[in-house]
């Protein structure tokens, strides 16, 4: 990062190399935390039904009776070879879980991001432009509430009101059972598969199921965007170039649109990258609330069952995604913003 040297290629290589220690540290923490927590997959699933001897037999069959260091080294070896193994409690390859459920999580994440951007950016711009007006105050309060309130709280409220009381949307799931059955699974992304199949009824059904989860998760992120964009607009409005534009007699609307707003949006790109982690953690809660068949929903079940292999595998996958996206954002920033030294 020295100001004096290096190239973009070197900077990129260094950032990519950083993935290794980051994933290593995270994997180690996950491994240790799971072992520190009381219980194991055997006691969580069949405890209370079998004798201690029978439980021990099952632990031995799963290799859970081996020294921790042996288990750890084996786990690290597997991660290094990108072999995430298979779950303990239902014998599923981790990669299958990611493949089968990743599409649902991706759909939710993208839809939530769209909601967050569509709500957050305009509201942030309005709030910044009309500082200290009742509108600004209202938007700020809205932003704080959506950010501060737990995602499952909004989810439950939406379910009760829009699904239960008004009956406008389904309570949960990614589509009706008939849609899931009839749409051929090509990409593991149901919406995309419905579009490929040209099944308009299925597309509508999937979108209707997507509205409430996307709104719930999107609201969480929109609060961040509102506050960020508002602050940036306020900063921009204090800039000399704004003063200069006004002095040149440019119309106020054009000053806002072409100078203030445009500059205020640049930092949003950076923040989008940083919000990936928040998006994924929010997705876990949203999926659990709406019975959304994504990876997060699976993760919750495996955590409850103390399925070490599944939890380690899924969290490592999440970590890799977050780290890779963060580094990509860093690289994009370095490319588009000359002030970033590499």
């Amino acid at each position: 990062m020295a100001a004096s040297g290096g190239s973009l290629a070197r900077y990129t290589a260094l950032r990519l190399l950083l993935i290794i220690p980051m994933v290593f540290i995270l994997s180690t923490i996950v491994f240790l935390l799971l072992r520190v927590a009381p219980g194991d997959p055997v006691s969580a699933t069949v405890g209370g039904r079998l004798s201690e001897a029978a439980l021990d037999e099952r632990r031995a069959a799963l290799g859970l009776d081996r020294p921790l260091i042996v288990q750890y080294l084996e786990y690290l070896g597997d991660v290094a070879t990108l072999n995430f193994g298979q779950t303990i409690t239902d014998n599923r390859p981790i990669i299958d879980i990611v493949q089968e459920h990743g599409g649902a999580t991706l759909t939710l994440a993208v839809a939530a991001f769209v909601v967050a951007l569509v709500l957050g950016i305009p509201l942030g711009l309005i709030a910044g432009r009309h500082r200290d007006t009742p509108g600004d105050l209202g938007i700020r309060v809205f932003g704080i509430i959506t950010y501060a309130a737990p995602v499952f709280y909004w989810g439950l409220l939406f379910q009760l009101f829009f699904a239960g009381y008004l009956g406008w949307f389904p309570v949960g799931g990614s589509a009706s059972p008939v849609t899931i059955f009839e749409v051929p699974d090509v990409t593991h992304i149901l919406l995309l598969d419905a579009i490929i199949a040209g099944n308009t009824e299925a597309i509508t059904d999937v979108l209707m199921h997507l509205v409430l989860p996307a709104l719930t998760l999107g609201l969480l992120l929109s609060g961040i965007f509102i506050r960020l964009v508002r602050v940036n607009v306020l900063q921009s409005l204090k800039g000399d170039y704004i003063e200069a534009a006004r002095a040149r007699g440019i119309r106020e609307t054009q000053v806002m649109r072409s100078h203030a707003f445009r500059n205020a949006l640049v930092p949003v790109i950076t923040v989008i990258g940083l919000q990936i982690a928040l998006l994924l953690s929010g997705a876990i809660l949203t999926e659990a609330t709406f019975n959304w068949p994504g990876i997060g929903n699976e993760l919750v079940q495996y955590i409850n069952n103390r399925d070490y292999a599944a939890v380690q595998g899924i969290i490592t996958m999440f970590a890799v995604v977050v780290v890779v996206v963060s580094i990509l954002i860093d690289i994009i920033n370095a490319v588009i913003d000359p002030r970033v030294r590499y």
């Binding site: 927590a37 009381p38 219980g39 194991d40 055997v42 006691s43 969580a44 699933t45 069949v46 405890g47 209370g48 039904r49 079998l50 004798s51 201690e52 029978a54 099952r58 069959a61 799963l62 303990i88 409690t89 239902d90 014998n91 599923r92 879980i97 089968e100 459920h101 379910q159 699904a163 239960g164 009956g167 389904p170 309570v171 949960g172 799931g173 990614s174 009706s176 059972p177 008939v178 899931i180 059955f181 659990a288 019975n291 068949p293 929903n297 699976e298 919750v300 079940q301 103390r306």
Partner: protein, 538 residues
């Protein structure tokens, strides 16, 4: 309750040596169906079952949970089955089965059995299925139920299963075991296609082929299963609908909302007592109840200074008010339980009712005084909030209140998360702690032997040589009347020694939307959701 008691008592006659007649086999018999054609015409509309149960796998060698077994009961055949409303095993794939002695059990298969892929089902498939289950011994599976045909080293005993011809299977048991016929009704014994299933590994869900009334059309893990009437099936379980969808939910609240909103047609397992009460007031759905077999009980840890005192245990048994627990903690959605064995099983007696009667503080005080126990007794009570539902805390609070109201006990309630709880109760952190049980099969033995032999699976340090002997006797006795007497004596001994205090037996509850029929028929203690009995108008 009387109806079931009568049914089960009648069913118990000739339970051991008797031949087990098949329930039909012409495709026209079952459940009021219009034939076993399994075709498009004449069958009800597709319908959706919602549940919070989780499915581990579709391979019978890899699962020991109700979510998986529910699908398997509808996809696979077993040699024997429990018809709705009964608990005597009857033929499923078997035309007849009989014990020639308590260690030899022989079954003859029906004619014309076939898997949904068209492969013929023979005795070789039966042998393959059971031996592969034992050989795989999956940690999540139920191969332990096949102990009577397992070699001493835990592997396959090549002489345990004989198949002299395509239709005959003989089991040579390694000990007298009259419960083996019940094991053959469970999915530990589900028959799989030897040409499809791997011999020494679990099959993938797409390889799961059975010969039951339904075949699996689609399985999306954690999301839904789609079962279609199996055209190869020609037995008494003729499906009433061409297709059934099963939707999986994470939370009972989601399940409740889904059935209220009409997203699903039937909700089965598990709605909370509060949800059930709430839905009972709804005009849009019907709450249907059948007899259950799931029990809750309070276990004494005899390894603690308090728990080891028989007088303390007996005094608590005098004080517990089960009806109040059922009403106050579970809103009347469960029934009081006065024995480890729920009502309806041959040999069942309400032993605690007989010995202790209604709540009696004076008698409890007398028991403690006679034993020289100082009162109030400081008692540590344990429960877990993360395994037995949200009402576990209400039950613990209610039981503690009952004990403290007598002025004979000071109760300290403690709780722990499920996995930690299991270590704590074995280590003696609680004098008395709450547990539950869901039977593997419908026989009184399954409510006795796991609990009473040398501390049981929960290691509560209870050991009574006479009880151990009685358990062996009931497992080996071939005379039904004699066996019932032994089972009675076991329950009475439990009431005397009080290693546990039975609390309640649950009901089998489903919530059905408009136009559904046949749901109530399957709600019985077997907890098999027989999808083939259910149909939807339209």
């Amino acid at each position: 309750m009387n109806r079931r008691r009568g049914l089960l008592a009648a069913a118990s006659a000739g339970v051991l040596i008797a031949s087990l007649a098949a329930c039909g086999g012409d495709g026209n018999g079952g459940d009021g169906g219009d034939g076993g054609e399994g075709g498009e015409s004449g069958l009800g509309a597709p319908w959706i079952l919602g549940t919070t149960d989780k499915v581990t796998t579709l391979d019978p060698a890899g699962a020991y949970d109700l979510g998986s077994w529910t699908l398997m009961y509808n996809m696979y055949q077993t040699l024997l089955t429990i018809p709705a409303g009964e608990n005597e095993p009857q033929g499923d794939a078997a035309e007849s089965c009989e014990y020639s002695d308590p260690q030899t059990f022989t079954c003859t298969l029906k004619d014309g059995l076939a898997f949904s892929n068209g492969n013929e089902l023979t005795s070789s498939d039966v042998k393959f299925s059971l031996e592969r289950n034992i050989a795989i011994a999956d940690p999540n599976g139920a191969s332990g139920l096949l102990a009577s045909i397992t070699a001493e080293d835990g592997g396959v005993d090549p002489d345990a299963i004989e198949t002299p011809d395509d239709k005959t299977v003989t089991f040579n048991l390694n000990r007298p075991d009259t419960t083996f016929q019940f094991v053959l009704t469970t999915n530990a014994s589900a028959i799989v296609d030897e040409d499809t299933f791997p011999e020494d590994a679990l099959a993938s869900n797409t390889e799961a082929v059975g010969s039951g009334p339904f075949s699996m059309d689609q399985y999306e893990d954690g999301q839904q299963a789609v079962l279609t009437a199996n055209p190869e099936y020609d037995g008494p379980k003729a499906p009433q609908s061409e297709r059934v969808f099963i939707s999986y939910y994470q939370q009972p609240a989601q399940l409740k909302q889904a059935v209220e909103n009409g997203d699903i047609d039937v909700a089965w397992r598990s709605l909370s007592p509060t949800d059930i009460n709430d839905l009972q007031g709804s005009d849009s759905v019907d709450v249907l109840e059948g007899e259950g077999s799931e029990i809750r009980y309070w276990t004494w840890q005899l390894g603690t200074p308090v728990g080891e005192q028989k007088a303390v245990r007996q005094a608590a048994a005098e004080l517990i008010d089960r009806q109040a627990i059922a009403e106050n903690a579970y809103a009347g959605t469960v029934d009081p339980l006065y024995s480890l064995v729920p009502p309806g099983f041959p040999g069942q007696v309400d032993a605690f009712q007989e010995k202790y009667g209604e709540t009696n503080v004076d008698e409890a005080r007398k028991i403690l005084e006679d034993a020289g126990v100082n009162t109030p007794v400081n008692l540590t009570m344990g429960y877990t909030p993360s395994h037995y539902g949200p009402n576990a805390v209400d039950e613990a609070s209610e039981f503690a209140r009952q004990l403290e109201d007598s002025d004979l006990f000071n109760v300290q309630i403690k709780s722990a998360e499920w996995t930690q709880y299991q270590d704590l109760y074995k280590e003696g952190a609680y004098d008395v702690f709450q547990l539950g049980w869901f039977p593997d099969f419908l026989d009184a033995d399954n409510y006795l032997s796991p609990f009473l032999v040398d501390g049981g699976f929960y290691a509560n340090n209870y050991s009574n040589e006479n009880v151990n002997q009685l358990v062996q006797e009931e497992q080996a006795t071939s005379d039904p009347e004699e066996r019932e007497k032994v089972i009675e004596e076991l329950q009475q001994t439990v009431a005397e020694d009080v290693p546990v205090i039975p609390s309640w037996v649950g009901k089998n509850v489903a919530v059905a939307g408009p136009g559904m029929s046949g749901v109530e028929e399957t709600l019985d203690p077997a907890f098999i959701f027989r999808l083939w009995t259910v149909s939807k108008e339209g």
